[in-house]
Symmetry: C2
Subunit: 225 residues, 2 copies
DNA sequence: CCACAAAGTAACCGATTAGTTACTGGCTTG
DNA sequence: CAAGCCAGTAACTAATCGGTTACTTTGTGG
């Protein structure tokens, strides 16, 4: 892999222009397959996703897809892994330990909501993975090591709040995180059936804003001592 | 359709026994196709479901499936409609207007949780339907008329609570219902990825009990004035 | 500068899958 | 009791889909 990077630098010696796309570019090909597959799997699930559609979306020959990823299932696994890496990476930008307890919880809730809102494909992939009882997640050694350090940080935050007499003494950090995630996930992933049944456009800007504040309110109300 | 019902009554004239299965029984065949299809669609989504698998599960010839339901998509729609009718029917057994406001909210929360817990196939079908942006739900005239009368009842309950000074004045009934549904739906439908990532068996009896109480607690804490 | 490995293409293949055709057999109705 | 309709069967088909084969092109290291 490192060899490739070295090779890619000295390209296009004639004009020095980086604009002309290389005729052969493994990294770019791999990345565009992954991006196309993410879209396709998110839109259609694993059973509905079409290998030919992914190839077409990526603008590559189907053979390359097998060249880089083995088969459809391994490609799906790569997509899933990348999606989890994405949210765990973004989480790191949150610095809960510097904040007041209540503010920290509010920030965590708003961050989670914001990430879900901006990454519908992540929610969709979670849904697909759960439909299959985490069949691929369970077999991924890479993802099992990746489990969130959130819970530890959250635990500290709760303990600080408890000492200041702000929070109830029996708050479980995992349950708190599940509460935050549940309120965001359900609202967004079920938006289509909910909007249809209740006749209210949940994705309307003002409704989204109300729900964001709602999540913070519910979360804090449930843990205050 | 009405003809069928009339014809089915006078069956088995010879022995009068209802136990011996009829050689030909439209209602039973239709019902077993629907039950088998519910399982298959819930387990595999619409793209992953196999018509042959449904036929085998139902113990019928594939031709019958097309005979009764037209094609795969119409069969899926029938399954979805039946699933919604199921929960709306169960909802009617709840009599919120007879209860104290706080008790009423608690009952609603526990009912919703209990129904989700006992009907995983309903949650799965919701997930599938949302993956496809409510494509079938939106085209179902039957389901659009069925939308929950919960919201109205819930509205009354909230107003009563408000008058007694128990609840905050600005509680939106739909948002309250979404909160209750979100906490139940996310915990159960995402149990596989969550249990894997956080290393805790969410379906353990005691954890289920904790979460049930948690839903009631969170819901009430968020609306108390 | 050329040999070799890796990137890339096009055409193909066997298996699967949704849906059909052509038929049999049993129940009801006149 | 006969006629006709409808439940039910088995075998088939056309199309789709995941995956492969056989081949060409491109870049790079000895």
């Amino acid at each position: 892999m490192e060899k490739m990077q070295g090779g890619a630098k000295g390209r296009n010696g004639a004009a020095g222009r980086a604009e002309r796309p290389l005729q052969r570019d493994p990294e770019r090909t791999r990345a565009s397959i992954l991006a196309a597959a993410t879209q396709e799997f998110a839109e259609n699930g694993i059973g509905g996703a079409r290998v030919d559609a992914i190839a077409e979306r990526a603008g590559i020959n189907k053979r390359m897809l097998y060249h880089y990823f083995g088969d459809k299932e391994q490609l799906y696994l790569a997509v899933l892994e990348e999606a989890y890496v994405g949210i765990r990476t973004a989480e790191k930008s949150l610095n809960l330990s510097d904040l007041e307890p209540e503010q920290g919880i509010a920030e965590l809730a708003m961050f989670t909501w914001g990430y879900f809102l901006e990454h519908p494909e992540f929610l969709s992939l979670l849904g697909t993975e759960n439909l299959h009882r985490a069949r691929w997640l369970r077999q991924s050694t890479r993802l099992k090591e990746l489990h969130s350090s959130f819970i530890d940080k959250l635990s500290d935050l709760l303990q600080r709040g408890r000492k200041e007499g702000l929070f109830r003494p029996d708050v479980d950090p995992l349950n708190l995180y599940l509460t935050i995630a549940a309120l965001g996930y359900f609202y967004l992933s079920n938006q289509y059936t909910l909007s249809t049944i209740f006749g209210r456009d949940l994705m309307d800007k003002s409704n989204l804003d109300v729900w964001k504040r709602h999540i913070v309110h519910v979360t804090l109300a449930s843990i205050r001592g």
